[in-house]
């Protein structure tokens, strides 16, 4: 085919002429590509950072939590053919007392070899050094915790280890692949200010915990084939170590940090599909409208070119190029924008997921795919318009286009209704009905925008609801004290006498395995007092559930995992105490959004594990006055038997400042995305309509209409389309929201479906604001239109 350079020149100038409308479409399409490139790059950034970190630290494939097992026995595990290597270690919870910090902080203590050597679940030093030979009581502190608390190598800290207050010397700060996402117990989000990890020398740990030659955890690596299906190996390990007491076995898949990270990665992968699809579909539709109008407007040029002897293929290619230019521009802009957005989002993830080198990289394959997607999408959008030039005969193209078919629209057949409308409304309705495809495309675009808005606002409300539900209705204590060992009821009375304590309740938490037919799952039963006020299980209507004197109240998620219904019987085998399997009835199902709570009557649970009045946690309601709290905290620091202390206010505050703030940014971005869809589609439709009806506008102006009155005619059309789109988009957004809650329905947390009035009100306000903003630009075009010139236009 002859390359027609001059047509390319025409193309460039055509593009310049239609720049406003093209940019609107490029905006939507570019965002779609940017979204895809962003999400796909962030996904890749995280996966690569994770892989590098896991390799660097030799991340374990499994861990086994034990009571106390001789080191030599544990080393025998390496003889299993599927096991490559094992590292027995000591792990305990501890509390940290920092000078100048009013309350106790929680920490996990882990042992490391005295001399540095590459080990499984190794650390990466960030500052300072590894242990030296100078002192026994050296400690390496989790880097983020150290930074947040202003700790650095050379500082001393006080830690309560095995009921004894120890002074430890910080030699270094470090991070490790097992704590990429470091969540303290009972929370959703990392709280590095209040929870950290401390690494002690192996020898020193043995000494302070009375673990001479023994360990209570083993981490190990497996051969690749066993790594895929670790359960049979873990079962054999459990059987092998059973005589010594196995609390639990955890494959890497269930390792908390790895699990949070994997679930987040899955979420990103899903999102990287949904959002771009919405954008690209809307963009293709809007481009379609523009192209049909554009080729229509150029029908005499098409005719002339054909009369001159241009082939159908040449003319078709010329108009395809016009449409595909949008794809090219959107693709390039989207790739650059996506890369920059990925940098920002990677940074946001970096605040929650700690990697030594999380960086934003350039992925040419993602760019290539982004570009390909936008070119494909623009070709699809351009095809309809460009194809119309094929059908056009040159002789026919020379003749003016026959006037559009008139005739009454459906609504006119209902005379009493039709007569209610003003002249302007009738005109708007006729235009809406006559340009059916354009109207439908506009409705589709606004419905998609609404869908994104509703989903975003539902997520916002859901997190607020979740926090309120969990920390206001279910967990109502101000302070939870977890005790190092099970103690008698007297510990409660002692706690109740602490300063500022208004009310105290006992709690007995028992780790156990639940069996139901072929299903089994590990969890914890919380034994609460009859009529407990500080832990109140609730149903999905947030009504309190009475704890039965016998049997269990099981969280819906746990019941789902075990395929259990109300009144079914499950077998419970505690991992501590008598460890006798017992059949227990599930009396009712509770709703909750964090973890897999199972509740039982405190007395009943005591009987179940063969105890009389054991407690291992105490919940307190305290006097909120600061001076009283100060006194309480001072006393708590002197209690040696505490394993950890949880302050509800801290957890809620942490959730609000981390999860909710970050979520607000994401919702802000979603609202912006929806805004782009609304704005660009309304703008494009109105501008196409305006270009088409120049003669009509000119006639109105001759008749004496003001530009505002003319603008109002266009506004009415836009508002009707927006209103219909918004109404249709609302249920779509609701279902997308429901689908997302199903997607994010994990054992760690669930998102409630919340559809309070603010969801709908915010959506309606946003959709109207975006439409009016687009109309402002249309109005400006009407104002500056040379209508006298338009009167002369031949169509």
């Amino acid at each position: 085919m002859i390359r027609v350079r001059v047509l390319d020149r025409k193309l460039r100038r055509d593009l310049r002429t239609a720049i406003g409308r093209l940019l609107a479409i490029t905006g939507i399409m570019g965002l779609g590509v940017a979204c895809y490139v962003e999400m796909a790059s962030v996904y890749e950034n995280l996966v690569r950072a994770k892989d590098r970190f896991y390799t660097q630290c030799r991340m374990a494939d499994f861990s086994v939590e034990l009571k106390k097992v001789p080191n030599s026995v544990l080393l025998e595990l390496a003889n299993f053919p599927e096991i490559l290597e094992v590292r027995p270690r000591i792990q305990f919870s501890a509390t940290v007392d920092l000078p100048g910090v009013e309350k106790l902080l929680n920490a996990q203590v882990l042992s490391l070899p005295d001399r540095q050597s590459p080990v499984i679940n190794d650390i990466v030093l960030v500052s300072g050094s590894y242990f030296t030979d100078r002192r026994e009581n050296e400690v390496i502190v989790h880097d983020t915790f150290a930074r947040r608390r202003g700790l650095k190598p050379g500082d001393w800290i006080h830690v309560i280890l095995n009921n004894r207050r120890q002074e430890l010397f910080i030699v270094g700060t470090a991070m490790s692949s097992e704590f990429v996402y470091l969540v303290g117990p009972g929370s959703l989000a990392p709280d590095p200010e209040n929870f950290g990890v401390l690494y002690l020398k192996q020898r020193f740990a043995e000494e302070v915990f009375d673990f001479d030659g023994a360990r209570n955890q083993v981490v190990g690596t497996m051969i690749p084939s066993a790594r895929e299906h670790p359960q049979p190996v873990l079962d054999r390990i459990e059987a092998f170590l059973a005589p010594y007491g196995v609390f639990s076995t955890t494959p890497r898949k269930h390792q908390p940090s790895n699990r949070y990270l994997s679930e987040e990665l899955e979420g990103i992968a899903t999102f990287s599909g949904i959002l771009p699809t919405i954008f690209l579909a809307v963009a293709a539709l809007v481009l379609n409208i523009l192209m049909v109008r554009w080729t229509d407007q150029q029908r005499t040029i098409v005719g002339t070119l054909k009369a001159l002897g241009y082939t159908n293929a040449q003319v078709f290619a010329h108009y395809m190029k016009f449409g595909m230019s949008v794809g090219l521009l959107a693709g390039v802009a989207g790739c650059i924008g996506g890369y920059l957005l990925a940098g920002w989002l990677t940074g946001v993830y970096g605040q929650f997921y700690e990697f030594p080198d999380l960086r934003n990289e350039v992925y040419l394959d993602k760019f290539g795919l982004g570009l390909l997607i936008s070119l494909t999408c623009s070709s699809l959008g351009a095809l309809h318009g460009a194809r119309s030039v094929l059908k056009l005969q040159p002789a026919e193209a020379m003749r003016p286009k026959p006037p559009r078919q008139g005739g009454a629209i459906l609504l006119e057949r209902i005379p009493w209704l039709w007569s209610q409308f003003s002249f302007a409304t009738r005109l708007a309705l006729r235009n809406i009905f006559r340009n059916r495809f354009r109207t439908l495309a506009g409705i589709f675009a606004t419905a998609m925008g609404t869908c994104i808005l509703v989903t975003g606002f539902m997520m916002r409300e859901a997190i607020h609801y979740l926090v309120d539900f969990q920390f206001d209705k279910v967990q109502r204590s101000d302070v939870d004290l977890y005790l190092k060992d099970e103690q008698s009821y007297d510990a409660l009375l002692e706690a109740a006498r602490l300063p500022g304590v208004d009310y105290a309740e006992p709690l007995l938490e028992v780790s156990c395995t639940f069996y139901h037919g072929p299903y089994q799952y590990r969890g914890t039963i919380s034994g609460i007092m009859p009529g407990a006020r500080l832990t109140i299980p609730r149903d999905d209507q947030a009504r309190a559930i009475r704890i039965p004197t016998s049997g269990l109240v099981m969280s819906r998620k746990m019941a789902e995992l075990l395929h259990v219904k109300t009144n079914d019987t499950v077998v419970v085998r505690p991992t501590e105490g008598l460890r006798q399997p017992q059949e227990v009835r599930v009396v009712s199902i509770a709703d909750g959004y964090l973890g897999l709570g199972v509740y039982a009557d405190w007395h009943y649970l005591n009987r179940l594990i063969g105890e009389a009045d054991a407690i291992n946690a105490i919940q307190l309601q305290i006097d909120p006055r600061p001076e009283v709290k100060l006194a309480l905290n001072r006393e708590l620091k002197e209690l040696p038997a505490l394993q950890s202390v949880h302050y509800r206010a801290d957890i809620v505050h942490n959730l609000r400042t981390t999860v909710i703030e970050t979520q607000s940014i994401f919702i802000g971005v979603l609202v912006f995305f929806a805004g782009v869809i609304f704005f660009c589609s309304v703008l494009n439709n109105s501008l196409v309509s305006l270009a088409e009806r120049q003669g009509e506008v000119a006639t109105f102006r001759v008749l004496g209409y003001t530009p505002w009155e003319v603008g109002r005619l266009f506004l009415k059309e836009s508002l009707v389309v927006t209103a219909v789109g918004t109404v249709l988009g609302m249920p779509m957004g609701y279902w997308l929201g429901v689908w997302l809650t199903i997607l994010y329905d994990t054992e760690l947390f669930r998102i409630p479906v919340v559809t309070t009035p603010p969801v709908w009100i915010s959506t309606i306000i946003c959709s109207m604001v975006f439409t009016l903003a687009a109309h402002a630009l249309v109005q400006w075009n009407i104002h500056r239109m040379d209508w006298l010139d338009a009167l002369k236009v031949r169509e």
Partner: protein, 239 residues
Amino acid sequence: MNEVDDRVLLRLENVGRTFQMGEVAVHALKSVSLDIYRGEFLVMVGPSGSGKTTLLNIIGGMDQPTSGRALYAGQDLAKLSPRALTRYRRERIGFVFQFYNLVPNLTALENVMVASELSRNPLDEREALAMVGLAHREDHFPSQLSGGEQQRVAIARALAKNPDLLLCDEPTGALDFATGKLVLSLLVRLKEELGKTVVVITHNSAIGDVADRVVRLRSGEIIEVHRNEQPASPEEITW
């Protein structure tokens, strides 16, 4: 082939064209027969609806007859495929339209190039513009040119392909008297100096005075073919 046939560039034999408009069949052309000779200036005159544009479209390969034959160099245009018709238009025909049909966002020179780039044997674009007296306006866009100038660009465009047959649909229809005469002189010059065959359709019978032959059409039929033994010069005529 006899001697007469050699002079014929295009022969129409009983050409008819019917348009189906809903349930009504409109006979735009009813059995038209006509020979167009090489190097002649032919004017077809007729009122609106006489079928002259339809006839021009058939001659130009933009439309095909529903009956009869349109023979160009022995080839029946009615039987050509769309692709062959495009080739015919590309290689043989130059069009001049009443409303010029210039591409608005290309300059005068570029509008000429739109045609010359298609041709195997084009005239130089600048030469073509010089021939219509617009060498100095080559960088102007259509909106910066007067109607007469735009029509001259359109003629230069038609010419640039170096076609055998120049078809002009009401070339003076949108122009004032003086400019119209200027354009007409230009067309006559093309015939005289370059030996082009020029077919002009118009409803303005005065234009017929400059032609070698005048064909009168009414209601889709030829009612008269008149040969001007002494064609007038465009300067002499008036309307």
